[in-house]
Symmetry: C2
Subunit: 413 residues, 2 copies
C-alpha cells in the first residue's frame, strides 16, 4: 500500500491553489471532463470489466458496479449539469457596519478538503470530483477495492483534464483501496475538513465511531408512510406502491407502512393486488396479519422488522389506533431520513409535518422524492441524516463554510 | 453517581414538549429567570462560597468560578438580552413549487437536545440554559466538579422558573459532575443531537476523540497578528497591545506577532515600552531577539512557542520577510480562530483576508473582537473553530437545523 499521509498533504496544498483558479478554467475543465469521459468510455469500460470479472454476477452489488455506454453518458450529463451550476463560494451572506466603524462581512468559502468513503458505484467518483471542483474543494476519494480498476481509470481521465486546464491534478486524489487507508483519514484533522461516508449503515457507523475529522452522515433511511384514517385510499395505495417498488434498493424507499385501524381493511384490500404484482413480501404485525391472511408473500413481523431498512421488495405493515401512536412509532424507529403521512385532513397533516423529526417530511407524496435532483439542488454527495451543516440532500450549495471578514482602521476593544 | 441514561431520556422527552410551548411563555420564563436570579442571588452566592472554599485562591480558575452581586447582575442582564432575541426556529428559508406540483419548503427547527461540557464559569450554566430555552432545545449541562454546588443552585433556580411557566423543568438537566457521566453522553446518538465542549484544548480533544454524537468544537485560539511593511506603526502597536493585554486569558487574545523585517526595528522600539507597562513576556525568534535585547522580560523562543496558546501575558514574536512567509507561518500554526494583518496596503490586506483560513480574519483591527456580542449576534455558546454548521461566534441563530417539508396531492416518482 502506498503511504497515505503524503497523498493527503498534496491534496491539501492543491486545494489551496484551487481557490485561486479562474472561474473560466473551472467551468471549462468540467465541460471538458464530460467530453473526455465520453471520448474515453471504451478504456473506462475495459477497466470496469476487469473489476466485474472478479464479482459474483448474482450479487446486486455487481449491477451497481457495472458501467456501459449508457451509464457513461448519464455520468457525463451529470457533470455537464454541475458545470452549469454557479460557484457556491464567494457569496456575501451578511454585511454590517458596527458602531465602532468596523465593517463586518460574512462570506462563503470552500470547505478545503473533503474526504469521501464510498462503495462500488463508479458514478460517485465522477460526481464527487465534479462537485468538489465546482466548489473549489480538494477531494480524497476512498472507493471500494471492488471498483479499483474502474476508479483508477476514472481518476486518470479526471487528472488529465485538470492538467490541461492548468489546475493542479492533485486536487482529486484516489486513496489506496485497502481498508487501512481510512485510518489515516480519521486522524488527519489538520488537513481534512469533513469526512462523508456514503454507503451501508455499517460503513457509516464505522466512520462515526472512529473519525476525529468531523463527519456528515448520509444514507441509511428507515422510512415510514402513515396512512391516516382520512386518507384518500387510491392516493395512499399509489404512494405506498411507488415508495416501495420504484427503486427498492435506495434509502428513500419505504420500509414500514403504518395504517390507521379504522381504514385498514379497505386500504389493505386495495394494496394487496398491487404488491402482489411485484411480489412484495409483507411482514405484518398481528392485527395486519389477520387482514392480510390471503396474501401469498406474508410473514409475521418480528420486533426486528420494525426499524429495519429492507433495501429490497420487503415491507413491514402495522396497524395503529391514531396519529399519536403513529408519531410514537416513528419517533422510536425512524432514522430521520424521509417520513410521510397520507390524509385529506389538513390539520393532521400539519401536525405530522411539524412533529416528525426528519430531514424530509411529506404530506400526500411518495418518500422517493428525497433527492438532490428532484429538489432542484443538482447532483448530491448523499442524503444527510444528521442535523448539523446539511440536512437532507447534501448538494453543491453545502460544500462551503463561512468566514467572517472584519475590516477596520485601527479599532481596539 | 446517579445513572445518566434516564436523565438524558427525560431531557429528550421534555425537548419534544418544548416545541409546543407558546412564544409568550418562553419569553416570560426568560424574563422571570433574570428577575428570579437577582432575587435569589444570596442563596446562589452562598452555594458558590462552598465551591470556592475547596479551591486554591491563587489559582486563576478560582476567579473564573467566583460569583458576586455584580457578576450575578451581569448574568441576569445577559438573560434579559436573550429574552429579547427572536426564536431562530420556524423560519421559512426557501419555498418553491416543483413542476410536478409538489410544494417544497425549507424551514428552521430546533436541533433537539444540546449537550455542553464545560469548566468552571457559572455564567455558562445560565447562558446555555437561556439560549437553549429561547431556541426550544433541551440542554444537558455537564459542568466541572469544582462548580458543583453553584451549578446545582443555578439549575434549581432555572427549574423553578420553568415550572412556574408551565414548561417541563426537565428541559434543563444538570448531569452528575463526575467524569464518567460524559461517557454516556458520547454514545447517546439517538437522544443527543450535538455536543459542545467549552474549555481547554485538552477537553476539546478528549471530546472529539471519544464522541459519536456530532461535535462542534469551540475555543482554542492560537491567534496571529501580522505587522506588514506598510503598517501604520501607531495602529499596529495599539492593536497588538490591545490584543495581548486587554484580556490575556481568552481565546481571541493574540499569541504570536509576525513582523515584516523591513519595519521590525521601528515597530519593536515602539512596542517595547507598552509591553513593559504590562510586564508582557516576549518569546523571540533569533532575528527579533537581536532587536529586543534591551527588553527585560525576554526569552529565546523554542519551536514549541509558536503554535502555543499562552492564555497569559506572554507573546511570541517572529520576523518574516514578506506576506507569503507570514501566510505560510499562519497556515502551519493557526487554529483557525482569529487572524489579523495590519497594513495600509489595501491589496495586501485583501490577499490576507482571502487566503487566511480562519473563522474571523481581520485587517487593521484587534483580534479581540471575535465575540458574539461584539458581532451583534448576542450571547454565544462558544467560538467555533471548525467549519461545519457554525464558524466563529456560535450564537442563538445556529441552535437550529433545517427540515424539508413537502406538500403534495398524491404525487409519485
Amino acid at each position: 500500500m502506498k503511504p497515505v499521509q503524503p497523498l493527503i498533504l498534496k491534496t491539501y496544498k492543491a486545494a489551496i491553489s484551487l481557490r485561486r483558479a479562474t472561474e473560466r478554467s473551472i467551468k471549462a475543465a468540467l465541460t471538458d471532463l464530460a467530453r473526455s469521459l465520453e471520448a474515453n468510455s471504451a478504456a473506462l469500460i475495459r477497466a470496469n470489466r476487469k473489476d466485474l470479472a472478479r464479482q459474483d454476477p448474482n450479487n446486486p452489488r455487481t449491477d451497481r458496479l457495472l458501467l456501459n455506454e449508457d451509464r457513461v453518458r448519464q455520468i457525463a450529463n451529470s457533470i455537464r449539469t454541475i458545470a452549469r451550476l454557479s460557484d457556491p463560494g464567494g457569496r456575501l451572506l451578511e454585511e454590517k457596519e458596527l458602531k465602532n466603524g468596523l465593517l463586518l462581512q460574512k462570506v462563503t468559502v470552500p470547505l478545503g478538503v473533503v474526504g469521501v468513503i464510498y462503495e462500488s458505484r463508479p458514478n460517485v467518483t465522477f460526481d464527487i470530483a465534479a462537485l468538489c471542483l465546482r466548489s473549489r474543494n480538494g477531494c480524497l476519494l476512498k472507493g471500494s477495492s471492488e471498483a479499483e480498476h474502474t476508479n483508477k481509470a476514472a481518476v486518470a481521465i479526471i487528472k488529465k483534464v485538470l492538467k490541461a486546464h492548468g489546475i493542479d491534478p492533485d486536487c482529486v486524489t484516489l486513496l489506496p483501496s485497502e481498508r487501512e487507508a481510512v485510518q489515516e483519514l480519521f486522524t488527519a484533522t489538520k488537513y481534512v475538513d469533513v469526512l462523508i461516508p456514503r454507503g451501508s449503515d455499517a460503513l457509516i457507523r464505522f466512520v462515526r465511531k472512529n473519525s476525529q475529522v468531523p463527519v456528515i452522515e448520509t444514507g441509511a433511511g428507515v422510512c415510514h408512510i402513515y396512512v391516516e384514517s382520512a386518507a384518500a385510499i387510491h392516493k395512499a395505495v399509489n404512494i405506498v406502491v411507488n415508495a416501495k417498488v420504484s427503486r427498492p434498493s435506495v434509502c428513500n424507499a419505504v420500509d414500514t407502512v403504518l395504517v390507521d385501524a379504522k381504514i385498514a381493511g379497505k386500504f389493505l384490500n386495495r394494496l394487496q393486488p398491487r404488491f402482489l404484482e411485484h411480489k412484495v413480501e409483507i411482514f405484518a404485525d398481528p392485527h395486519a396479519h389477520k387482514l392480510l391472511k390471503a396474501y401469498p408473500y406474508l410473514q409475521k413481523a418480528t420486533p426486528a422488522d420494525f426499524g429495519r431498512e429492507f433495501l429490497s421488495l420487503k415491507c413491514a405493515v402495522k396497524l395503529v389506533s391514531d396519529l399519536d401512536k403513529a408519531l410514537d412509532h416513528i419517533r422510536e424507529y425512524s432514522t430521520k431520513h424521509s417520513e410521510a403521512i397520507v390524509s385529506e385532513n389538513q390539520k393532521k397533516c400539519q401536525r405530522f409535518l411539524e412533529e416528525v423529526d426528519a430531514a424530509a417530511v411529506y404530506a400526500n407524496a411518495s418518500t422517493r422524492f428525497t433527492d438532490g435532483e428532484e429538489f432542484g439542488l443538482g447532483a448530491e454527495i448523499g442524503i444527510s441524516t444528521q442535523k448539523l451543516h446539511a440536512r437532507g440532500p447534501f448538494a453543491l450549495e453545502k460544500l462551503v463554510t463561512e468566514k467572517w471578514l472584519v475590516k477596520g482602521s485601527g479599532q481596539v476593544r
